[in-house]
Symmetry: C2
Subunit: 213 residues, 2 copies
């Protein structure tokens, strides 16, 4: 299987980095092909601007949606977007790993989605390509994330509510919207206050989850 691993943590000595290394080793062990987008290390630019489009169709007024639809026909995206699009096209499975920031992805990863999964690429409202006819039909996606809060806080009836419900704005409105199959999220709760033992157990749990893909 071809796996694109999209990763967002700043610190190579972090628990998130250990999760990422664990996953990459397990994917290799199973003989999967892997490409990595290590967003902070790449200094990935998450801000969608007119510079994203190298051949504007409406130079007088910037309409990002319109320009993206045009650029998916002509390839007139900035090189950093095109490079990531090639990885997405190549991949059977996309794994997004990140520490949760305010019940969502860190901005650097949200901006990867904003810029790379552009209108016309993963979906196209003009040709009615979404959900069952989404352009990424056949691909799958997984969210793998850590939280500071405990599981009870992030469950139905807890103070925050069910984190999986909150993240349907990603799993449903982005992944399923583009035709992808959503595999269960992998979550490590209370990652900022773990003992070494629990850390090791969580890494082992992630290793098995990845080996079982």
């Amino acid at each position: 299987m071809k796996v694109l691993y999209i990763y967002a943590h700043q610190e190579p000595k972090s628990f998130n980095a250990a999760l990422k290394e664990t996953a990459l080793a397990a994917l290799k062990e199973k003989g999967h092909e892997v490409k990595l987008s290590d967003l902070y290390a790449m200094n990935f630019n998450p801000v969608l601007t007119e510079k994203d489009f190298t051949d504007r169709k409406k130079p007088d007024i910037f309409k990002p949606f319109f320009e993206a639809i045009q650029a998916t026909k002509t390839g007139a995206f900035a090189p950093d977007i095109l490079a990531e699009m090639e990885k997405v096209k190549w991949a059977d499975l996309l794994i997004f790993q990140f520490p949760i920031y305010f019940t969502s992805m860190p901005a650097i990863m949200k901006g990867w989605i904003d810029r790379v999964l552009a209108p016309g690429f993963g979906f196209n409202p003009i040709t009615n390509s979404a959900y069952d006819t989404g352009l990424f039909k056949g691909k799958s996606a997984i969210l793998a994330f850590t939280t500071g809060s405990p599981k009870e806080t992030y469950s139905e009836g807890g103070a925050h509510g069910d984190v999986h419900k909150h993240l349907e704005s990603i799993t449903h409105c982005i992944f399923e919207f583009m035709g992808m199959e959503v595999l269960p999220s992998f979550v490590v709760y209370e990652a900022s206050s773990m003992t070494k033992e629990r850390g090791a157990e969580e890494l082992e749990r992630y290793r098995h989850r990845i080996l079982d893909l």
Copy 2:
């Protein structure tokens, strides 16, 4: 009333820009004091890195949550974060206006939240300051956004589901989490395919919403 208007659109000739201008004029008409954070115009950096902290307490390993908690005691945040924090402290009401990007804020605005509404500033898990004891008690917040999709698609039973439910990850898990009162969102659906007449009506509807604050 003191209003902080946080705005994210790239194009001064856009409908979003017209909404923003309408709101600013209506706020002025009512005698409110206003500060504007026009994120693209400011070239706001949405990426949280170790440069956000000018006096690291753990220089050997970057733990953003830990550094933020320390920096709220010492003021050791980067100047762009401090400047935005001062606006937030000053404000009674925060209005976030943006075009919806994948059922959430554009990355530039998500990164404003990631970096400015830092742990220790709007909430503090160590002192149990959240929700009823959130540090922004007394302030209010509003989301004002445009969507490409029609209202039916973004309603319960529609293809995407209820947009207000999806945005509870912001209204509940950020605003209420920090103790703010959430006022009803202002939404313009199908903003990319509006007639001039509907555009004018929507601007008028927004003007009255702002006048009635």
